[in-house]
Subunit: 318 residues, 2 copies
DNA sequence: TCGATAGCGGCCACTTTCTGACCTGAATGA
DNA sequence: TCATTCAGGTCAGAAAGTGGCCGCTATCGA
């Protein structure tokens, strides 16, 4: 614990936990002279982490935003928060970052002390559903196990429920994970069937990594996403949707600004746009808005709203 | 870039990105001899990061889970995923980790290159609403700015919309952030009013950190959360809600099982229970269910549903 | 305007460590 | 059995890291 590298790391972590540090205090904590501290700071700067300094009375050091992200030193609670957040992100709450979420999650989970893993597991129950829960969700454990096998080029065994419902045991060389339209797919070379297959992760159970490593084969497709896309017949194509709401843009934005874009038309009206895979979303949005509106597009939405309305009317004895 | 500390860090990051590494390859990448690599590995082990090794043919090194989390070396995309996930977590999708999410978020945002910040901003639009999305939400920028000021003990200025609606400028010594019932509060010492106050973050605008640091005062309360709890009169009491749905329990569970509890009554009917702060949620749930139902409780819900129904009917020209 | 504070960095002498080379040993799997 | 790969001791030379000293500069408050 007494050598330079570890001290430099500790310095980095100190700079991350608190913005300003007087040089003397840092030197004190690291148990070195101020001169050496300056040299340590120089070292960090040479490594590309921009440590800024204020001179004069009340001066000090601080870590600024640089070209690259420094290694993040997080404590236990923060690590749990990271993992939980990433898990949500990986489940597809935000379009476009699923893959990197899983990568980061795998990275963290791999080195995470067991006690923290247990804490995350305990928090699972507390998770409020993020996505409009139509559709099966993938267990985060399965997700990371498979992602890890892909990354580490380790053969994988699991049981798979095929479309018909029958369970089969599989032994594959995992190639890549693909997130497509709220579903996760594993593209892998099936060692029993001697061919490439794609597997839906929500139908995959009990993945266990064998220790066998393998040399990656070349996928006979442009990329993994294309391979999956070819294999599945129907991806739910997102509808785009548009309506005019008879309420000020500001009000509407306050109510549902997060799920839709709101453009002002005039003082009392605004245009609402959103895309969604189901018609439920626009219906909910228009319900929450609490104002009169007209549907511009698509026509199917009108039928859908009418269905809600008749059911609601019937249920309320109207 | 040629010295030991940076190499040790690079080794750590290599071990994080890929599970198995043959010693020779690692040595190659780090441009040192195998002997030195072994010494580097020893160094990591001394620092508490358990690097495991397999001997024999096909052997290699890997980083296992240890007592503490090593500094995380993440790439750009992963960093974005982290930030986005944490932001969701901070908005209260998971009970109990809001505070640590914000802490971690602050840490990351502070050192994050501007280009990544822009990417996160761009992703904001794509975010699916955090669940109980009907209340006012806190802007993530405000949240991190305030959190940073708390952490760094820097005075803060902002404008605040009081209950009446009038805007006032405030100058405070921020003490702590408290997340309570889906809302964020800042506990701070108001320098103009010479007293402790709590501020709702969603009413707080344009926080700017003055560079003035201060010595923390002692809060005249057990802790910050208690202080906030004393100050607010009405925590929105969640309504409990109940309905009978004319559809099989399994079907209903598949559709909205994540947000409500579903009990089977008989083959074709089930009982739906949930609690929510607003009446919008049950309405949405009943809409998504797509089946006939009766509201058991509470009576206000009936009026609410009727309102939706009439608006929908009018809008669809029925 | 001046003085106190605090970061900057050169210089030097001394100490520590790092490094590569070479070696033997031990575990592992074909 | 043998090849492979990690483990770790020893050695000498090279390369750092370290603390103490110095004068310098930026900043702030009196």
């Amino acid at each position: 614990m007494a050598n330079t590298s570890s001290r430099t790391l500790r310095l980095l972590s100190l700079l991350q936990t608190h913005r300003y540090w007087p040089g003397t205090e840092l030197a004190d904590r690291l148990e070195v002279s101020v001169r050496t501290l300056r040299r340590d700071v120089d070292r960090l700067r040479e490594l590309g982490y921009p440590v800024e300094a204020q001179r004069g009375a009340e001066g000090g050091y601080q870590l600024a935003a640089g070209a690259a992200l420094p290694p993040l030193v997080v404590d236990d609670e923060e690590a749990v928060a990271l993992a939980v957040g990433l898990r949500m992100a990986a489940q597809g709450s935000v379009a476009g970052i699923e893959e990197s979420s899983v990568r980061a999650l795998t990275k963290i989970v791999q080195v995470m002390p067991p006690r923290l893993r247990r804490r995350i597991e305990a928090l699972r129950a507390a998770t409020v559903p993020t996505v409009w829960g139509t559709g099966p969700t993938v267990d985060a454990g399965v997700l990371t196990a498979v992602a890890q096998a892909c990354r580490d080029e380790e053969r994988l065994r699991f049981s798979y429920k095929a479309r018909g419902g029958e369970l089969t045991d599989r032994h594959v060389e995992p190639h890549r994970l693909v997130s497509l339209g709220r579903r996760w797919y594993l593209v892998a070379y099936d060692l029993t069937r001697h061919d490439w297959r794609s597997f839906r992760l929500d139908r995959l159970d009990g993945p266990r990594s064998t220790a066998e490593r393998f040399r990656p084969r070349e996928l006979p497709a442009e990329d993994a996403a294309a391979f999956v896309r070819n294999g599945i017949d129907n991806i739910a194509a997102p509808h785009s949707f548009e309506a005019v709401v008879h309420a000020p843009a500001g009000t509407v934005r306050g109510l549902i600004g997060q799920w839709a874009t709101v453009e002002e038309i005039d003082e009392g009206r605004c245009r609402l746009r959103m895309t969604s895979e189901t018609l439920d979303w626009p219906a909910m949005a228009l319900g929450v808005v609490g104002a009169e509106f007209e549907v511009i597009h698509p026509p199917e939405l009108i039928g859908h709203l009418r269905d809600w309305a008749t059911r609601f009317t019937r249920a309320t004895g109207g």
